[in-house]
Amino acid sequence: MNNFSLNKGWLVLCYSLILGLCLCHSPLFAQNVPLSTTSKQQVTGTITDGGAPLTGVSISVKGEQKTVISNFDGKFTIAVSSNDILIFTYMGFKTVTMPVDGRSVINIRMQEDATTLQEVKINAGYYSVKESERTGSISKITSKDIEKQPVTNVLATMQGRMAGVDIVQDSGSPGGAFTIKIRGQNSLRADGNQPLYIIDGVPYSSETIGAIATSGTAPTLTSPLSSINPSDIESIEVLKDADATAIYGSRGANGVVLITTKKGKAGETSYTVNASTSFGSVTRTPKLMNTQQYLAMRQQAFANDGVTVFPSYAYDVNGTWNQNRYTDWQKELIGGTPEVNNLQASVSGGSQRTQYLLSGNYRTETTVFPGDFKYTKGATHFNMNHTSDDDRFKITFSANYIAQKNNQPSIDLTRVSRTLAPNAPALYDANGNLNWENSTWDNPLAGLLSQFDSRIKDLTANTVLLYAIRPNLQFKTSLGYSDLNSNESRTQPSTMYNPAYGVGSEISSLSTNQTTRTSWIVEPQLNWNKVIGKGKIDVLLGGTFQKQRTERLFLNGFGFASNSLIHDLASASIKTIDLSDETIYKYQAFFARMNYTWDERYILNVTARRDGSSRFGPGKQFATFGAIGAAWLFSNEALLKDNSVLSFGKLRTSYGTAGNDQIGDYQFLDTYTSSGNTYQGTIGLQPVRLFNPEFGWETNRKFEVAIETGFLKDRLFLTTAYYFNRSSNQLVGIPLPGTTGFSSLNANLDATVQNSGLEFTLRTVNFQHKHFEWTTNFNISINRNKLISYPGLESSTYVNTYVVGQPINSIKLYHYTGMNPTTGVYEFEDVNGDGTITSMGDRKTIADLSPRFFGGLQNQFKYKGFQLDFLFQFVKQQAFGSMPGVPGTAINQLASVSDAAAQQPYTAGANGAVTTVYYRYGLSDGNLQDASYVRLKNISLTYDLPLKFTHGVRCQLYMQGQNVLTFTHYSNGDPESKFSGYLPPLKVFTGGVKLTF
């Protein structure tokens, strides 16, 4: 395969698109052709929001059907009679009514209307609902928030902006994964907490696609979520409670993330070009010992051990290495400046009946590691909508195609940058070759010679056909297809090994992983509604058929004639197949929703779904889920209807069930599979798992009650939600002792786990004047997890893990009581009083490491052409401190460890007691620290150039920053990723320009 054609192809495509757009942008193209109406006159004008022009405003003549739409620079032309009245409507803005009065130019400034935000339609998956009438708990962000963030993963765009959604970046490496938990950890299975992702109605599998043999620097295997281009997203809705998720039945337990991509808009052809460049750096690194402190520690350690002659292998301290040399390894190994270049271009337009959008994106990102590594992403997005002349038939087609090429080192240098002795030798010798300093160290850059290369091509396409059989009865079918093609490889050339081994390219190896995952889904639906008196009834019936096929092929090549052939599997002298399999996942469901609204005051919403999944054994495949939700719009009651303070008030509640089938395929089968290992030329067959055909669906019961109140025409809008989720019969990999031969067994856990919490969301419009606007959004979430009951806990393998009444994600620790005043050794509470400290008897202090609360505070200022946004994210949590290894061994430590009096006696390894206690301390409350932080997550300044003279061009300049400032007391580096040995999130600064014409 040709590495370069893809990138160049994308570049050529993007540049030619831009060039093409520039050329065809002629005045003729940009103006409406005058309409020839005899008794009427032309009225033209510009619509703005006070600063920027408003595109897509509907302009209609009162009493007539005629409607025109303002173009990209807010201009419109309409034929009217001189005494007509024009009506300007735009979602989120106050409707303006303006008599023509014989004028030929009418310029309009529309005012944002907080009240009408209640009119916005919220996507709830199979249906959409007016914000004011929804009974479920749904959080939403739109492209306005997304485009201010210089990020590449869709989950990053949501961080800090949604109540109840806890997102943590696991690694700052390009393409690195994020962890998301919606309303706490529901499943004990670490990999069973993924929400269901749906892109334009098509479920998108977030199951990892990598293999350990070919994985790169990320702590988790490749997540396909990075295949979604944030700039193509119009909105992201997160469904949280039973009312919203029960219609997704078995897959809704962990919440549902609905991603809606951008759609074409009617009006003149509009072109957008957006280019930006970013520079990054690691957010936070701890201060480590310098050479002098480090060597003093080492010398003292040997002295404490009674060793007078330094051992021959203690190169750092015995004089083999230069004792005056100092390298800041964090700067050297992870201190690079990654550069991100992003180019996005789109063209959209269309008529009232047909609209289209085509966009392209090209992005490159380099790394903080030394060396030439690059992550390249190219994306196209296409959307077309058409409505038939009689308005009865509608078709929507959307397709996204993304190609990614990620070339990364296959090791992450973060850990070694923290532990390497500060007087370790130079990375390169005088000739520019890797310096092995006579084999006295493992040159960390040797690992970079092992390269990870990933190419992912991902297509998602979706067609929605809608036909109105009668005005109130619609038939709709959603057809989706996704095709993911991943090619990963990892090289291990002989040059990465110490030359002292004297091995050559005959041991070089190449591992490849080809994964394809295709899935189709068909979802026919019938929708019927009727108004009966003051009541309004809405009924939805539907079905889902989905099939997903995953094929994986892991190949290895060993022994190459030369390392320059290492990327060519055919050149390997030995080739093996580690895995060749095909897994099929089938899924089927019927669902229904009935919604009844009476007098815009009382709303009842009932949803149900019956699901079948191939992931369960015979007789266990089907289960039924359902929910009931209700809302009372008390502000519409006569008593409060015209209240001048309270502008909106809604009380809503829901109760229902959702499930989780994230357990992997075929887990109920007792099978042997090829191990990929050969013996006497025979490929071995190995048992795959301990099998349990009895496991079945887990059920998550969710309850929520919320109150939404708007004051002063909704300029102050507060939502308070309380939820209470209980999962029982949880499907988990029950850990087993090694004596069983395996580490876990899939089974339903006979325990009840509860997540309960509070979420507050506050939106205020602080100032709203002609040239200045200030709005604030604030959210905070508190989640508490608790094991409610567990019959048989005492005889289970969880006996030393869980305590009834405590969180399931808590851990048991030793209680640190201080340092022995004479020996200087740490001491712990002997809880069971048996005279010794043992993990079974004395790890009794319970600590909960999940966040106590988290949230975000966002402010937006608009002044004329300027717009400033910033988001502070905050998390209250605790985490373990640094435990790199026993102080005194050949491992660098935090600078604070050089205060010997505050430490146990240093030891170079011989003092077994100190070593034992050091690791015990690591599992004690003494090592817990406050890892709370406040982070300026995002700051964005946009300036709209006042280009009055250049007609029809809008130019925005912007500067953005991500993870700009972090305030924390945490001593061990970045408080978000804590210290996992992987690259922490990056601080990124971006400058860019966006042209619309």
Partner: protein, 457 residues
């Protein structure tokens, strides 16, 4: 348009709402076989057994790689010196500072019991099979029983009292208790007796890569030796030594070649042209040693006329410093055609087992004969030992020189003779008396309250 849409709707609605439950039924994937089918066919049953050997070869205590018992126990005792800096596990082994949560401990434990599970699965699968011939059943059950005994033997020697697992039933296996060593010995011996009864004397494959009856006897001899049952040890060793298939090799340079006639059981390599993993683990061509080197104390205790010192140990120098590595296996890379396989049982051990067992029973002359066979190969004269104690001491010396960096022989010999606490403290500053047993992994204790920890952890 309406004309075709309405029938379509009706069709789809009917399709949806009339049950089609079998939509979600899936076939067993092509790459997997259900457990019962595996043991209905010779080829697949054989593949299940072969996989156990590849697991023994590639991971766990029997492997020759950097965490196999040769390296682990060589560092833990006094054979090897760790020159690297950044591998915590190896550092802990070298400093005798293992903790119950050190990952190498649970890694070896879990891998060993996983291997035992696979062996039990083969035994149960063959017992329940209807299609396998009796000969095949005997062969596979014999091999699996032998493997089960072998792995338990290593676990017992490392951890002391350990559970002896004979079933795949996880409900039983998750609550097991530690079995007294004496009982573990009985189980091992019972299993080996059964293996000896079931296995044929002939190897079922070329290159002696599958255990035969003599392999089980060879292990049995070692087991009786460790147990102190001298007569039985001597008899079991004789059973091997009397087998005409084994011919003493007199060329010291051919002992570790894959064709060596004194080999009892060796591992078939993973890939064509691969050689014993021990080569890649121990060999280095320039100093300092990138991983481990032989301790100079060991090298210096050989007499200079001992051929093993010159043929099985290599010296590397940079002019000022000198380092040593084990050079029994001389290939450290892929050679196109394999030259050396990793040898688990070889004839010299049987001679030295019998020598020791005979000496302990007072058969000094026969004991010295056995001992001298091994000495002669090393170019050494007949032993000068006269009394029983002298002969036993001479055998122990010989074992040290003969089996260095092989499967932890040194550590186990020191341990069973009670010398750990006298010999190791002088060379290992971190040695504590309780270090003679490895800890039971902490994760294991947390999940199975029936298990208890060893003293000192």
């Amino acid at each position: 348009m309406k004309n075709f849409i309405i029938p379509l709707i009706v069709f789809l609605a009917l399709y949806c709402f009339t049950g089609c439950d079998d939509f979600v039924d899936v076939e067993v994937p092509a790459s997997q076989l259900t457990g019962s089918i595996v043991f209905e066919d010779h080829a697949t049953a054989n593949a299940a057994m072969a996989d156990i050997y590849s697991k023994l070869r590639d991971s766990g205590l029997l492997s020759g790689n950097s965490i196999g018992s040769a390296t682990c126990l060589g560092l833990y005792a006094d054979e090897l010196v760790y020159y690297g800096t950044n591998d915590e596990n190896v550092f802990f082994l070298f400093n005798n500072s293992l903790l119950s949560n050190t990952s190498i401990v649970s890694q070896q434990w879990n891998e060993s019991y996983h291997q035992i599970y696979c062996a039990n699965a083969v035994i149960e699968g063959c017992q329940n099979s209807t299609a396998l011939s009796t000969a095949d059943k005997n062969q596979f059950i014999g091999e699996a029983t032998f493997v089960r005994a072998l792995v338990h033997f290593y676990l017992m020697n490392l951890h002391g009292d350990v559970p002896y697992i004979t079933t795949t039933n996880y409900e039983l296996n998750r609550v097991v208790t530690r079995m007294p060593t004496a009982e573990v010995y009985n189980h091992i011996i019972t299993d080996l007796d059964q293996a000896i009864a079931l296995l044929s004397e002939n190897y079922i494959s070329a290159d002696r890569v599958r255990p035969n009856r003599s392999t089980a006897s060879a292990l049995l001899a070692r087991v009786y030796l460790y147990k102190g049952d001298w007569a039985a040890a001597s008899n079991a060793a004789s059973a091997v030594l009397n087998n005409p298939a084994y011919v003493w090799e007199n060329d010291i340079d051919k002992i570790f070649l894959k064709e060596c006639t004194a080999t009892i059981w060796q591992f078939s390599p993973k890939l064509d042209g691969n050689n014993a993993d021990e080569g890649a683990t121990f060999i280095f061509q320039s100093g300092s040693p990138p991983y481990v080197g032989l301790s100079s104390e060991l090298v210096n205790s050989f007499t200079n006329n001992d051929l093993r010192k010159t043929h099985w140990i290599a010296t590397v120098t940079d002019g000022t410093n000198t380092w040593y590595h084990a050079n029994k296996y001389k290939q450290n890379t892929n050679t196109g055609t394999s030259v050396e396989y990793s040898i688990i049982f070889r004839l010299a051990e049987q001679y030295l087992i019998r020598a020791e067992a005979r000496a302990r029973q007072g058969e000094l002359s026969n004991a010295k004969d056995d001992l001298n066979i091994v000495r002669h190969l090393a170019g050494l004269p007949d032993t000068a030992a006269v009394t029983a104690d002298e002969v036993i001491t001479a055998v122990m010396q010989e074992r040290r020189f003969e089996f260095f960096t092989e499967y932890g022989h040194r550590f186990f010999d020191l341990k069973r003779n009670g010398f750990l606490n006298t010999i190791l403290p002088t060379v290992k500053p971190g040695w504590n008396t309780t270090d003679q047993l490895w800890p039971i992994p902490e994760t294991e204790l947390l999940m199975n309250p029936n298990l208890t920890q060893n003293p000192g952890y």
